[in-house]
Symmetry: D2
Subunit: 366 residues, 4 copies
């Protein structure tokens, strides 16, 4: 019998008397809530998230983004034409999970999203399209298919679409965490971009995107990655090599048929930002991952291939661009029909740094 | 002009047309919330907590705790006779701040609070009284006036009152943070205590409470302090020495007339637990501290002496046992009429580990 | 067959021809030494120290120190009346091991040893006597029986004997390491002490010697311990408690009957200085420790009690004050006839920080 | 006046009496050396290395390596055909500095150097040539011009020349440090290689050589870099970009006209091995670096271009392949006639981890 199931019968439910009512009224007046009236909810046996697993279909999202492009101008004040995915369990806020924000952002031909900066950490992942540059502290970063772009907290950034076609991508931030815990600062910057150049590679890449090499001009470790763009060609090659090494009998994959990389801060080898972990997973056709439960919430976006997610025992077929969220301690696994590529982000750095991380791999070691 | 103040006039408020309404209806249906409709609230210029500063008077709390002792039995299910302090700004939850829980716990003569364990980190601080032992994983820890006692996450613990008098103390935990972020696990343990001994010193103290000395049997660093009790006599002596050293012209105090210690994990020199910082502050009579703003929420309890807190420009006279909370980025300072001693706890480790910490000392360096 | 034993017959010994002699002559002229002529010596199968195990008897040392006191004045230039223990295997240098220096220092009645500072890290351990104060950066530190005193690198320090009796103690430093690796700087300071006060407790103790408490005025971690004195009463109590806890069936000792503490830097929980580890060991009467081999060199001084060291299979009976050195990878264990107390220091931090540490406990896990 | 210069006149030189002689004789007999007789040498005012700056000309080294190839077979026992550079100040040992070993290794057509492993950390740098594979724990690593190859401590490794031409390169190890401090272990392995494949890229590169990407199969940090090869094309590109960024007015170079990278462990962002730092420096034509003094010893090899080193005020013109050593605290700078590329390695990780590092940039901040 558990703390939860005993709630109705536990020993601390006193008889309802006038004195008790008077006491409870005094509690109310003095801004007091007794633990015994709420412990089962506040401190459940295991995480019991209000957030629910949910899938947003790209086929639904993209048309809405396009319509927003027609109806909503982009500019100062609203700042971004971003459609936040609102977890159905989280009461109408644009929180995909209690900690994370995920939005599809849309920039029409020749549009500019003005510069600002905020404490919230942000990344962008590009499932399709090209032609937009994000300017981070004056450094223009090309956005192309399969790229991960970072704008860690307190860096000025804006976007410009340099083409005659619109472009959409996803933004990930720690807005809910920042909002709930009152940590956020926000500054508006230039209404126009501070740099309209459209170089192939950003300065940050030219300085940092060399494997195992660190500039002597930047030996101080940084809380967030100094590398602004993680290019698809590198991600793809790393995953390809892992699967080839596996075929050669070498240890390289996370589990059989399942290659995966974590995007890291080259100054530390740790997560790219203090609150958000970014990864990319590739399953060989026919692979089914082990089933996991993890403390913390995680979001996937299908990048290419064909497969499904099994969440809490239910199989969901997935198409390119689909985004799904797995709340804390919910069972999940992935299945690949064809080679199946997924971008992933999560709040795992929060859980690990605060000593709350737990993972249970079913059939694995306890 | 700021993002906030421009909200009403910003460039992204489109004309209200049937198409726009249809789009917004589609958003609703697809679980989408647009950023432009909420950015000013979600991402304010600086932290704008819903939590408010508030003071709970010990003179109000203690009688209510005593009445609870008469009306509410303690036992399994409700687990603890704990009166949670509910921040008036946080909508009726027993959250003293978005991250922290603070309660007055009351144990009558010869009562036992049953054993359990949970992921949530907990401490107790004793403003008055004695006679209770907390049993942590089978190790009985005496609770006396001025002591800080730890029960870090996932350690079984219960309490027993070994005397004919009741005792009250405060509990501090990271329950709101754990609940909001879905990280908590809970296990019930023995209904009776696993150890009814009442030793003067716990095993953890006998092993760890020797300054600068570490047992060779415990060289592995731990996420939480292995020391279960921080005794008042040591705290008092440390603060006394700081003020004496200051009088001798030595650097020892935090600022003139303001001595302070942080309770630390002896295996690392860092905070006692991954989410909660505990400190003790002493002001010499007549001292007024500098005014600070800090990211994160902090709670003080007056331990002894006479003084006041100045919160957001308002001076609040304080008596022994009074508990007050200062939400994120709210201005505060302390003033001592007589020597003024305060226990303090906060969520600063969360802010520092996640790179959100900021402190502004007015008149200090930027 | 090993690299060493094959040296005489290995395949790289070419025939002695005029061409070979000419080549070897060219090597000499060009400052070249071929690896093949020396690999077995330079890179043995396991550490094969030139340093040898050796015991210095306190009964021999103390009289020589006294005679030095009569014949050698103390002062600037020679700096200290210190008798360095010279490992018989290390060719006449005052190196007790390749990394460490150990000396008996002697200060006559009312004498002063002048102030200086150096990169070399130093400690003092007091096996008997009292009456001397070491002044570290102006802070006088009382030296009493059983105390460990630190003067980490680059702190000015001098000594004064405030009594009419002489006093002797041991100094431990990383002089050989510093000398061999060319890292040392040296500054002379005041010929007289900068502070002749003789307080019971140093400022550093008054600030730092409170278990688990850290001053808010000193939150920056330091490379060396900020605590200048580790008092015998604390060491003794910690060891006493470990043995009592063991008797109560609690895990507390390093192995059965063997209590031990490491002196640590309270800002990190790590070693007191970057190159030198200090520990204190107590064996219950009748205890024999397991036999160990460790990379790095270690020195013990008998503090009190009766026992023996077994070094490379040979048992050496030990008396109070005796000092012995165990070079790298030499087998050792300790045996107690009566309760047996030993101070220990070693170069283990060097080995651990540079990833060379290895320990083999015979009969233990590999 | 310094401790050194006062040595001849200091106050601790007692009169030469029969008693003194008897005392000194007793010292000798008891393995004691008094500090006052040696402090000036052992603890100089600043590092006064016995090692001297020295330059080995590639034009001298390579012919001797070739002759060795003709006269000395390679094989078990001698292990490697390696010509160790012996610092003229270090008494005939093959130590280029007190901590480091540097050798030119030569492998004839179709030769194999047998497998072994040792605690000593090793790298190879290839100034010219190709055709050799180093097999590290069964993973064949191609060696080509400009590449840095790692064989960190305790990894089995051998070499094979797969071509009809000989090849020479430099080996860098911490042999002197390991030998002096008795930390080394050595195991012989297979006489033949365990893998004769000659892949373009090693497994370690295929797993680790992707900028900012970490395999999820290898999340544990390692003491040494898991990446076995740092290819010239990446080094060259990183340096080229730094100079281009500098031209564009961006901060990227170490000082004006001076680009530099450090080779790092991708799991930590720190040095590739616990004892050896590896870097590559490029000077634009006409650049002269600032003059530096550093604690620790450093070695350069000229890779390409034309320039000179100024060591202790003396200018040495340098040619491709030339190797020079700068002992601790010796002044040095570099001058480029044409673009000037140099590989560098040093013992800086030892100095930093043990808190002995100091750098003085002349004309820079103190």
């Amino acid at each position: 019998m558990t703390a939860d199931t005993k709630k109705s019968t536990h020993s601390m439910q006193p008889e309802d008397t006038p004195q008790l009512r008077a006491l409870y009224a005094s509690f109310e007046q003095q801004h007091i809530k007794p633990l015994w009236a709420q412990v089962g909810n506040l401190m459940p046996q295991h995480p019991r998230p209000r957030a629910v697993p949910h899938i947003w279909k790209w086929a639904d999202l993209l048309p809405l983004a396009r319509q927003s492009g027609e109806l909503i101008p982009v500019g100062r004040g609203g700042e971004r034409r971003a459609l936040g995915l609102a977890n159905p369990g989280l009461g109408g806020n644009a929180y995909i999970s209690p900690t994370l924000w995920c939005a599809i952002q849309y920039l029409g031909p020749r549009e500019t999203a003005p510069e600002h900066r905020h404490s919230q950490n942000a990344f962008r992942f590009v499932v399709e399209g090209e032609g937009v540059w994000t300017v981070v502290n004056g450094d223009p970063v090309r956005m192309s298919r399969g790229d991960l772009l970072l704008t860690p907290g307190w860096n000025f950034h804006g976007h410009q679409n340099n083409t005659d076609s619109p472009m959409a991508w996803i933004d990930g931030l720690d807005i809910p965490f920042s909002y709930m815990n009152d940590v956020g600062f926000f500054d508006i910057g230039s209404d126009r971009l501070t740099n309209y150049a459209t170089p192939q590679f950003s300065r940050s890449e030219r300085l940092w995107s060399h494997p195992g090499l660190r500039p002597l001009s930047a030996l101080q470790d940084t809380a967030s990655s100094p590398l602004g763009a993680y290019r698809w060609e590198f991600t793809d090659r790393a995953l390809t090599e892992q699967l080839l090494l596996e075929e050669e009998g070498q240890p390289a994959t996370m589990e059989h048929g399942h290659a995966a990389i974590r995007y890291v801060n080259p100054t530390t080898g740790g997560d790219v930002m203090a609150t958000i972990r970014c990864e990319f997973h590739r399953l060989r056709a026919g692979t089914e991952t082990s089933t996991r439960r993890e403390v913390g919430s995680t979001i996937f976006q299908v990048f290419q291939g064909r497969g499904a997610a099994v969440i809490d025992g239910v199989t969901h077929k997935l198409d390119i661009g689909d985004i799904f969220v797995i709340p804390s301690w919910v069972r999940w696994s992935l299945k690949a029909e064809a080679q199946f590529d997924l971008f992933r982000f999560s709040d795992a750095p929060i859980m690990e740094r605060l000593n709350f991380a737990r993972t249970l791999v079913e059939g694995g070691p306890p």
